[in-house]
Amino acid sequence: MESVSSASWLSRMVRAALRGEPSGSLDDLVGVIGQATGASSVILWEAVHSQANPAVPSVLAIWTDGARSAPTAPARADSVTLAAFAHRSLAIPLAADESSTPAADGHRPAMAALPVDFLDGGQGVLTLHGGQPLGNEAFDLAVDLLEVLPELCSVVRDRQTLDLVNLCDGILREAEFETSLLPLDRDLLAGHLKTLCEAVGQSLRCADVSIYLHEPGEAEQPFPLVATSSEKSDHQPVHVRRAGVAGQSVERGGPNVEADQEEMVAQLATGEHIWGLISCSGLHGPPFHFTPADLSLLVPVGSLVAQHWSNWLQRRMISAEIESWRRLAAAITGLNKLVADELKRDAPRDELIYEKALSIVQDVVQDCTGAGVHRTVSAGSNGSRLERVLATGSPRAGAAVNRRRKGETSRHNFFAGSVHRSKSQLITTEDQALADEGLDRPVHWLIGTPISVGEKFFGVLEAFGPSREVPANSAQVCEIVGDQIGLYQHLQESLRRLHETRQHLQVTNRGQAEALEDLEHQLVSPLIAATSRTELVLKSARFDSKTELQLRAIRGLCRKASRVAMSAGVFAALSKGASPKAKVEVHGADDLLRMLIAAADDAQMLSNPRRRIGFDVDRASIQGLGRRLVSFDNAFLEQCIGNILDNAAKYSYEQTRVEISGLVTEEVFAVAVTSTGLALQAEDAVLALQRNWRGARARNSTGEGSGLGLWIVDNLMRSMQATIDIIPADERTTVRLSLPLADQTRPRRS
């Protein structure tokens, strides 16, 4: 025995308890007492209770003097220890007998046994072994040290628990980090749990630590083995009963096997749900049995494992859902393409759409083994009824699917009928309801979804499968696919109606166009006669200036009325899809000049004199054509020039001039009409030739115009192989009509 003070031994004990890595053990603690008292070995006992037997002393920690071999735990307590347990007081051996007799397990005889009261209420005894009786000083020292032993035991146990929990937490965290986005593969997860089992086994000195867990949708019990530290391969699924020494007792594959101190089990639960259990057995070190302290070590580990398992399942479920949504999105794209293709056909093939939709449901919804479509068909005065048009199913549900034939309307339509009546999605897991539908086991769920758009109902989409729980996103997937089919039906109906309306409109338009053409014919003839007669009157006599002006205005109005009538005729022809037919002839500069002067004169006569807009023809530029000839239809070109001058008059500023000029090139003779007024945007120059187009500025300012004038001009010019260009430059706009030059060899029109 070392000659040091009591305080110094206390200090050593505390250091032993609070040691860092590795943590101190109970063996270390009792070792300090052994060294302080000069004992050759020390055993710390605790009383273990079981349901059947009275308290039995069991070795909790053991220390042997370093000079001796490794400590061996005795099979049972000696009489001195038992006396201390029995009386809860110091016990020493009788002088003559036990102190000199070596114990059978190699320990020297007990010198003294002192009671220990653990903080958790357990009772224990510290037995000191040695060759001589315990001296007074050593006894006092032992008593001093025993005063702090319970607290330090508690500290050591807490630290051991914390170490084990940290170690397990580290293992599980490693499993978490192994994959960043997707949940860990199940086999890899089992590998991490095996590592955890080994760590627990090392900490608790047992050879077999096993984890049993179940997954949602599986039968809860017996729990299948997921991971074990054992080399044995004969683990059977286990049942759990909520009782037992170590928290749970287990049944291995059938008859009751009572749990005892050689096996310890902790349940793996989150909230109220038990996912499985973790079991420990095969102790290979003292004290060769599990204690409540061991269970308190195992329970937090169990909580960790249960939480991790729950998280992993959740993550796996979310991942599966995300994957299924991704597949759904891709499949819907494919379905929409098919819908678009089919809707282009005169007779879309509904069956192809249904087949594609059902394959999507089966592909996306987990555990969906069959699906079908019922379509509403008219039942005359009785409203509508459902008719099954398509059903698919995997071999697993073959027996059920084979009974579901196309056109079947009899007894196996109850569920679809309910969906039809309620106009909402219905889900059933009732055996009777499934049997009524002709769906035998293993089908456990059936979803019926309306195929509809708004209030319009087209049928029912059904999906079913064998899993005990309705798959997580199945209802939503069916709803989306049902909506897509509904949309297809709706589009198909709308297109059919549109087609009918279009046909009706075409007939109506043709009638209106013909009426317009007829009106044109009726109008143009008298207007031409009126123009000619006015012309004749003007040429045949001399009038005072006021009368002449009136007559010229009347001539201008007649020509304008002719142009409008002709525009109506061209509009009618274009509306029917026909092109204007030009009668192209060759003309010289004089013909062209005469026409342009007459058009400018009409425009001037019909222009509001208060606005003082002048119309000028640059005669020299027109005569620049020389002896060359130009090809055009006289009536069409008159129409074009008239329309362009109308526009110029409409959009020109007051007191401006509209200039009409000509320019000859190698291939064309261009007539340009340039005016100053509301600016046309450069990007609108091409748009201005479109039907019904009106420039924003013109529309918002004068508000006039139908947007037909330039469109008609463009069509008339095209019919003459001529072109129109609009060239805006700020507030000056030039409209250029380019007429093809004629072959010089052709005779000039007389």
Binding site: L557, L606, N608, P609, R610, R611, K650, Y651, S652, Y653, E654, G677, L678, R699, N700, S701, T702, G703, E704, E731
Partner: protein, 153 residues
């Protein structure tokens, strides 16, 4: 006091003969012609001060004649477009405390049924006369709406 008749007509080919006809038929009357919707709106404050006896409104009216300083049309004009400008003018008068009692003649080439079919309604004190080369019907309607004394004075 001589009658004050306002004519809102943007087609000068019609406006001239119409004004001439009205002046010849009612020599004592003061005939004022406005040719665009913006001109009519600009005249409204003055018309409140000196209420006219009758307003004759064409329906399809220009907002304004093109000019560099063209007034921007208000939103209701942009939305309503040129085709129903005369009815907008009538509505402005109907909502105006001072002018709501002034009789209005909607004088248009459009069929009354066309106007009603497109959801337009005649002003409360409005009267519809279809444009025609025969101005007798318009003259008769003016006599019904304007006190005879003011037409003769």
């Amino acid at each position: 006091m001589p009658a004050h008749i306002v004519v809102v007509e943007d087609d000068f080919l019609q406006e001239g003969p119409l004004e001439e006809h009205l002046q010849n038929t009612f020599p004592a009357a003061c005939i004022e012609t406005l040719s665009t919707e913006s001109e009519f709106r600009e005249r409204l404050p003055a018309l409140r001060e000196a209420k006219p006896d009758l307003v004759i409104l064409d329906v399809m009216l220009r907002w304004a004649s093109p000019r560099p300083d063209l007034p921007e049309p208000p939103p209701d004009v942009i939305e309503g477009d040129y085709f129903r400008a005369g009815l907008r003018c009538a509505e402005l008068m109907a909502k105006d405390d001072e002018l709501s009692s002034v009789p209005v003649i909607i004088y248009t080439i459009l069929e009354r049924s066309d106007l009603e079919r497109s959801g337009e309604t005649m002003p409360l004190l409005g009267s519809y006369v279809r444009k025609s080369s025969d101005l007798h019907l318009l003259t008769r309607r003016i006599r019904e709406l304007v006190p005879p004394a003011s037409l003769k004075s």
